[in-house]
């Protein structure tokens, strides 16, 4: 890109007068990009044309899934606006990415026809083939590979925006473990405590609940960009009197819209939480009753083994026992954890009237300590003076924040995007869990913890049915036991079927991924757009965008507290086929003729047959494809009965499985690369932050010409880090480290923390001057990774780089 495009026309009086030059700088190169579909419809008088409106939903991966009303004129998508049938004004929303689809679905990056590789793998040389020829050869090769190397030698990788739920099953293929370590960093540490969140820290209540908070403490999230519809909810909370504080190394959009921004050293969120906890414990600001009754803090630890002590008498759940016996499986009673009750007696926590928090001593010849006492001991290493030194936040501010947080009700917004992509993210999550446990800021209006991104993820959801693949075929998906980073080091995989980008999305240190793909016998990419991963494929297959379908309806999903229907907006463009058609054609060739529904209408009927809301498909259609879910008048809350989904039912903050790693309670640990004292920073002084932006959803919209009016890939760096080398806004720079290098445009920006460089996620080679962002990123797994709930995190932002003028 040219540096010009990042230039802001300015708002000074002189800026206004700069006139056309400034406006022109924002512009796309007129006519410079060939349209893929210029022949589809002529530019003509619009008024006499045939026009209709169809309803669908947009992408879900920002956590929103906006319901859209799409105007189609003469077979072309011409206008998109919010669906007016949504129940409240707040749900009638969309963002610039939704608008951009009017141009984007006709992008010249659409895969228009099936392609077969003709040159070297990765060279990007293809010829057009028919769907028939491509699918016949793909299935024939998959059969041969599976016969030689086993069913699980085929790997299916998918992205959240595709709709291929049957693909791995019909191919009996393996899939990747635990989202390849993406978005699970904080959840790894937080979720074992609550038993909620699925490893993704999705344990928060609905963001609408922020109006009930006195403090909304947002640490390492930028939802005003990454989940735009949350912006309205944040402002509603501010209007209701919530104090919104954002902790971020950078002056993010969310930071600048909060009541207060607290700048923090990169990767030290855990230290902030640890310091706050110490202050709360030392000053007795915690919620004693919550700690005693609803957490594992009173549980007893055997000091010799570090393990929690249990009753020898098991509690038997008769119903579960009968069920197990009927199924012929062994039933294990629950042996409850022990506490010391107010009478000084050791008892199962289930029987104690008032479990004691502070316990240390010898009981029946056994040296025992309560989790609480152990925590108090452990926290001695983390006074607020220490936290101030590590985080760069003043001791006074940390203490005042701790007091405000403890007073509550407080929402603690963590996970995804920020410190979640650092090596010590699990400690951040665990330290957050402890902070919540000692203050009881959970399970009540205005108090919760986790990822608050997106109305869709934390909102109400209806239950649905799904098409069942007939049992007669005995089809089961293969294992999902290894991340792609790990598979890359084995010879297990011989074929890959990727829906979405394979190479540039899932793993850091991309050169290693490229080397690995050279060893694979067959790579198939099926996608809407031609991505970096597609370059490495043997076959590239065109799928439809969500606006195109070959049947009246495509799918039904939950979004924004509504049931949302995907109606056909357009017929498939080019030779693109739907995700369902693609899966069905593979199944047919494998001999599972009727394994999948013949049409999407048939599948939607199966989904709606299991719908838990009292609505029919016909009613959905009549109501512009949307239907409010029961109860949405009030924000969705979680764990209001304090019944956590843990073994004990309490909030469990002592992680026995991490005793060997000295992380049973959270202990501070630096990141692998991104810490101030790293001697490597003499060569590579900048931490490279891998950030989400309003202009993308991961790699989606990289190719949007309309969005390129506002943003093309540019690394933002604080001017102090550029001045020494004479680098200016608009220059091209080389970013480099031991793993690789890229060349990209640079902009000087005071909003970036000195010592950091910010590039938006999934910046791939077609959009930089040279190279993929993932050529630089760190792929080192942490030592305790395998012991964590979701395996090791993908530490994309635990990356340091050098910078020089290219």
């Amino acid at each position: 890109m040219s540096g010009e495009k990042t230039v802001n026309p300015g708002i000074t009086r002189r800026g206004f007068m700069k006139g056309a030059a400034a406006l022109g700088a924002l512009g796309v190169t007129a006519g410079g990009i060939a349209t893929a579909t210029s022949s589809l419809a002529p530019t003509n008088a619009q008024a006499e044309s045939e026009e209709h409106v169809a309803y669908t939903y947009h992408q879900s991966h920002c956590g929103n899934m906006c319901a859209l009303a799409c105007t189609v004129r003469d077979g072309r998508l011409v206008c998109i606006e919010p669906n007016s049938a949504m129940a409240e004004r707040r749900y009638k929303t969309m963002c610039l990415k939704g608008v951009s689809e009017v141009q984007h679905i006709y992008s010249d990056k659409r895969i228009q026809t099936p392609l077969k590789r003709v040159g070297e793998r990765g060279a990007g040389e293809f010829e057009a083939v028919s769907w028939e020829e491509a699918l016949d050869d793909i299935v024939s090769q998959i059969k041969d590979i599976q016969q030689s190397f086993g069913k699980d030698s085929v790997l299916v990788t998918t992205c959240a925006e595709c709709d291929v739920p049957f693909l791995a099953t019909i191919l009996e293929a393996r899939t990747c473990a635990n989202n390849n370590g993406i978005d699970i960093g904080t959840g790894n540490g937080l979720d074992p405590a609550t038993g909620m969140g699925w490893g993704f820290a999705m344990s928060a209540q609905e963001p609408r609940d922020w109006v009930n908070s006195r403090l909304v403490l947002n640490v390492g999230n930028n939802f005003c960009e990454s989940s735009l519809a949350n912006a309205r909810v944040m402002f509603d909370a501010k209007d209701a009197g919530a104090h919104v504080v954002t902790v971020d190394p950078h002056f993010s959009t969310t930071a600048c819209k909060s009541d207060e921004w607290i700048p923090i050293e990169v990767g030290t969120d855990a230290a902030l939480f640890l310091g706050m906890t110490t202050h709360i414990l030392d000053n007795n600001l915690g919620d004693q009753e919550f700690m005693a009754k609803h957490t594992s803090l009173p549980f007893l630890i055997d000091t010799k083994t570090g393990m929690l002590v249990r009753s020898e008498e098991g509690i038997v759940d008769e119903a579960a026992k009968a069920e197990a016996e009927a199924a012929g499986t062994e039933y294990m009673p629950f042996y409850p954890f022990l506490v010391i009750d107010e009478d000084g007696q050791k008892k199962p926590y289930t029987e104690a009237a008032n479990p004691q928090l502070t316990v240390e001593g010898t009981f029946d010849g056994q040296q025992l300590v309560s989790v609480y006492s152990k925590l108090c001991e452990s926290q001695k290493a983390y006074p607020t003076s220490w936290a101030a030194e590590v985080t760069g936040i003043s001791q006074e501010r940390i203490e005042a924040l701790a007091e405000e947080y403890a007073a509550g009700p407080s929402s603690l917004c963590v996970g995804w995007g920020g410190s979640d992509k650092l090596s010590n993210a699990d400690i951040t999550g665990h330290a957050a869990a402890v902070l919540v446990a000692v203050t009881g800021n959970i399970g009540k209006p205005g108090a919760g913890v986790g990822v608050y991104v997106g109305a869709q993820y934390a909102g109400y959801a209806a239950g649905f049915g799904e098409w069942a693949i007939p049992e007669k075929y005995g089809l089961m998906p293969g294992p999902a036991d290894l991340q792609m980073r790990e598979l890359r080091q084995t010879d297990i995989v011989h074929a890959i079927v990727a829906v979405g980008d394979l190479l540039a999305q899932k793993v850091g240190n991309m050169k290693l991924t490229e080397e690995w793909t050279k060893t694979i016998d067959l790579i198939v990419t099926a996608d809407v757009y031609f991505t970096e991963g597609a370059k490495w494929a043997d076959y590239v297959l065109p799928l439809t965008s969500r606006f195109e379908y070959d049947a009246e309806v495509g799918n039904v999903k939950n979004g924004y507290n509504h049931i949302c229907l995907q109606e056909k907006v357009l017929d498939p463009l080019f030779e693109a086929k739907t995700d369902l058609w693609f899966q069905r054609e593979l199944a047919k060739r494998l001999g599972y003729e009727d394994a999948l529904p013949e049409t999407a209408d048939e599948r939607v009927a199966a989904i709606m047959a299991g719908c838990t809301e009292n609505v029919t498909l016909e009613q959905l259609k009549e109501n512009q494809g949307v239907w409010p879910i029961t109860g949405i008048e009030n924000p969705r809350l979680v764990a209001t009965d304090y019944a956590f989904y843990t073994e004990s039912g309490n909030m469990e903050v002592y992680y026995q499985n991490l005793v060997d790693f000295n992380q049973a309670l959270p202990q501070w640990e630096e990141n692998i690369e991104a810490y101030p004292g790293n001697p490597e920073r003499e060569k590579y002084p900048l931490q490279l932050t891998n950030t989400r932006t309003r202009f993308r959803i991961h790699n989606q919209f990289n190719d949007s010409a309309w969005l390129a009016q506002y943003y093309t890939p540019t690394v933002h760096v604080n001017p102090v880090d550029l001045e020494a080398q004479g680098i200016k806004t608009g220059d091209t720079v080389r970013l480099f480290n031991d793993r690789g290098e890229i060349k990209v445009a640079v902009a000087a920006n005071e909003a970036i923390r000195p010592g950091s460089a910010r590039l938006y996620e999934a910046t791939t080679a077609d959009y930089t001057v040279a190279g993929n962002m993932q050529d630089l990123t760190n792929d080192t797994p942490i030592e305790r990774g395998a012991a964590l709930m979701m395996g090791p995190v993908a530490p994309f932002s635990d990356t340091i780089v050098g910078i020089e003028k290219a």
Partner: protein, 205 residues
Amino acid sequence: MTKYAIAINTGRCVGCHTCSLACKMSNNIPDGMLWNRVLTEGCDVIDGAQGTYPNLERNYLPLACQHCENAACLRACPTGATYKDEEGRVEIDYDKCIGCRMCMAACPYNARTFNWKEPKRITGADYGHKDVPARKKGVMEKCTLCPERTGEGKEPMCVAVCPAGARVFGDLDDPDSEISKLKRERNVRILLEDMGTKPQVFYFE
């Protein structure tokens, strides 16, 4: 009488450009042109900041035609192509526009954009509302306040789409309208007030 106007809550504006792009879409604006832009005040990069880290400030300023009561563009137009319509909007009659660009020079808000070339659209086809009139090479264009939409009882597109709820559309001649109340009760910011153009678009926090 009617005096349509837009109020923008800059406290709520997150600089997302949704209003800008939705305006482009709805009004069939050609490549390389925008009627509505979101500026980052005092910065030479989008999403920059004023001050020195960590003492920073960032303010977004959505900027389009201010539909001035005393419009400098209207006074500059030699053919009457720019006019004030009955609903209080500043509009352009494209048939009367001779492309002299006097209005462009006169507008202190840089809100007007000119078709220097034959309009091109990367989509290869028109988009937006069906009743938006076509423009050709050599005519001026700018924000119209979406009369095609308001005529159907809808809000202007920028107001309808704003994800943060930062925009309010209404009639300043109706004292009971939300926008009139905002103008009366809030600490309102008028751009370049001393120019005497009397903008109908105003900003508040």
